[in-house]
Symmetry: C2
Subunit: 411 residues, 2 copies
């Protein structure tokens, strides 16, 4: 309950992470510049840099132009210094990616999950795909640090389990962390998908994602990741950011959580498709190519988004109405957290980023507080579609090296 | 943008704060026990303790029972080691309190603000009351560290100004920090009232308020303070916790911010009184003793709360309906922040704490997430009515000594 002080023995590892993060985000950079960037003495910087060079995590990359005195050697992070596998788990498919220390995706596979009701089969299939992918890329096994999993919530962070995930019918408590550890034989870290995406965005976004932001993630459902003062908010039970349960729409629609005012049941792709079909009937749905069955949600949503991008009024209206509700929830979240940046991402956002950003920006900037004190920027992810998988890999890469992030658990 | 490392020269002051906080919350405590509590070496603890003793902030208070070896001297914080003035500013009145280092209120004054439209007059009146109070208590001037102000928001944290506070008609941008500094000749810290109350609650609450919680503050309006991992969330512009703008009640009522779904306009004391009078008419209002004029809001609200406490159905219903809406917003905030504790406070809560806690607890615990993963505790403030003034004083006392809190500005 008391915050800890700092003794010298603990400073080494922390300082190593601080220096690596500074080189990664500000590099190429000289030792002299690192001291003010990190708040460390030149002597400490020098020692830490030597250790990072020895570990192959950074490299000397040329020299800075002379400014009269001795020329300065520049340091860069080595992208090939470390790798991790990132897995984004969704009910219909998993995306598996191999990501390097710079956050670049080196290879990716989409794994269709034909039997999402069987957790063991899901894990085995993904682990096999990851093995094939790391062999193909290829990656030096000694530099492959582990596997990060982005899973739909809710999760029990202490136990490393997902608990009754609403989009995986039939799953009770599933010890995913342990199962992936056994299947891959590597260290595994896990967190909920929206939080993972926010971590990835912070990791890759550099200066553009410094400080605090709300990451709104639209996939099978809607969620959020929260970054405050450069640190992701995990929450008491690792379930922070359950944005879909913001109470913004009092009505008759009952959320899977039991609530009647939750945002989620109004703005998920499945709900927006169903609402459009119900409101406009079969002719309109046929014109847009929507089948309107539970199995066709993924394809229907892509067609709906495509139609919205082309400016089809029915589709544009459906997207705008969902965005306005998301904007209302985002306005509340922004008021609560006092962040001046909202980032949108997730694979269900493809093609409608601009429409969504515009509508949500209007909602969060409609208040007098926004006008007088805090205009809010609304932007799409700098990573794009792969944000979940890149974020999952960063649970391993960033969690190991960068300060301030907490790995959920490590085998 | 890069997080700073830790060099030795900066560790001293931070460690002093860590040790004082540990002694204050865990004391009486021996030097030997402090090492594991703070994560510091015995040698560092010993040095820091000597400095705190010299400064008169802690005292040696007896000896621990012998457990075979050498008997251990116990250390306690000295309540009279330091004092601060706390001011809670409300439109109709300000509460001024003198608080010691233990958080005990040594004296208090209520200052009626007959001309709330004139910021200079308000500041002068409060400063004069503070001078009379510190002379009367009395406090050693050398140990009086400054004045903390809890003000209704929104505020401009960088400038130390309140900006268009809705409950102070006619105020534009008012540089309260500077004005109080000039009027008192002392260091001044300022923050919005709900955040200040949350800081005070964390400060006084010890183990019961460790970790993370949402503090819902009901005064003239409704707001919230957010404590995450023992640290208060200030937000990008020092306006975190604008709970009254959570969008939970889509309807025709327009908030002062311009929004149409904000919680605030439905649950402020003025709104609840007006709604009751409108719904049940004059006879019911007369029976409860409600005048129903803008000037009588404070007295009307006290009568309404008194009636609710006695079980008058009309009043109970009014309080329960407001609480249910607050609960709906709290459910969203809890889902977003993943905190497992909600604390209620503020002077408008007097007499209805139990009713409010019950209704809000039901709302936040109605979801499957709450049942499966995170039951949420809802409790009233451990400080009670003075939470605003004690919290304001703690901006000075806690901001100076305890780690993790940020003073808004200091003269």
């Amino acid at each position: 309950m008391t915050q800890g002080g700092t003794n010298l023995p603990r400073v080494g590892g922390y300082n190593q992470a601080v220096v690596l993060d500074a080189i990664r985000t500000a590099g190429p950079v000289s030792r002299v510049e690192l001291a003010p960037l990190t708040g460390l003495t030149s002597q400490t910087v020098s020692n830490v840099v030597r250790r990072l060079l020895d570990a192959g995590l950074i490299t000397e990359a040329g020299q800075a132009p002379s400014s009269g005195g001795k020329r300065r050697t520049l340091l860069s992070a080595r992208a090939d210094g470390a790798y991790a596998v990132g897995v984004q788990l969704d009910p219909d498919a998993a995306v598996v990616a191999v990501v390097d220390l710079a956050g670049t995706v080196q290879g990716t596979r989409r794994v269709r999950l034909t039997d999402p009701g069987d957790p063991a089969a899901v894990v085995a299939k993904i682990a096999a795909a990851a093995r094939r992918l790391t062999a193909r890329v290829p990656v030096d096994p000694a530099r492959l640090l582990g596997t990060g999993i982005a899973t739909p919530g809710p999760i029990d962070g202490t136990a490393g389990e997902v608990v009754l995930p609403p989009n995986f019918p039939g799953w009770g408590r599933v010890p995913l962390l342990e199962m992936f550890g056994e299947a891959t034989g590597m260290p595994v870290a896990m967190d909920n998908d929206a939080t993972v995406a926010a971590i990835g965005e912070r990791w890759i976004g550099g200066r553009d994602r410094a400080g605090s932001f709300l990451f709104v993630y639209l996939g099978t459902g809607i969620g959020a990741g929260i970054v405050l003062n450069n640190t992701v908010l995990h929450g008491d039970t690792s379930n922070a950011g359950e944005f879909g349960h913001m109470s913004v729409a009092p009505g008759k629609r009952v959320c899977h959580c039991g609530g009647t005012a939750c945002l989620g049941p109004y703005v998920s792709p499945a709900a927006v498709v169903a609402d459009l079909v119900e409101r406009h009937g079969r002719p309109a749905a046929d014109r847009l190519g929507l089948e309107g069955t539970p199995e066709s949600v993924h394809a229907d949503w892509q067609r709906l988004c495509g139609a919205a991008r082309r400016g089809e009024p029915v589709a544009v209206r459906a997207v705008r109405e969902a965005a306005a509700l998301i904007g209302r929830a985002a306005r509340g979240a922004v008021a609560l957290l006092d962040v001046s940046r909202v980032v949108l991402g997730g694979d269900a956002l493809r093609g409608i980023e601009e429409l969504m950003c515009e509508e949500i920006a209007a909602a969060v900037n409609s208040t007098s507080v926004a006008r007088a004190i805090r205009p809010v920027t609304v932007e799409k992810s700098v990573i794009g579609e792969a944000v979940g998988a890149v974020g999952a890999a960063s649970l391993i890469l960033h969690g190991t090296y960068a300060p301030g992030w907490r790995m959920l658990t490590e085998r």
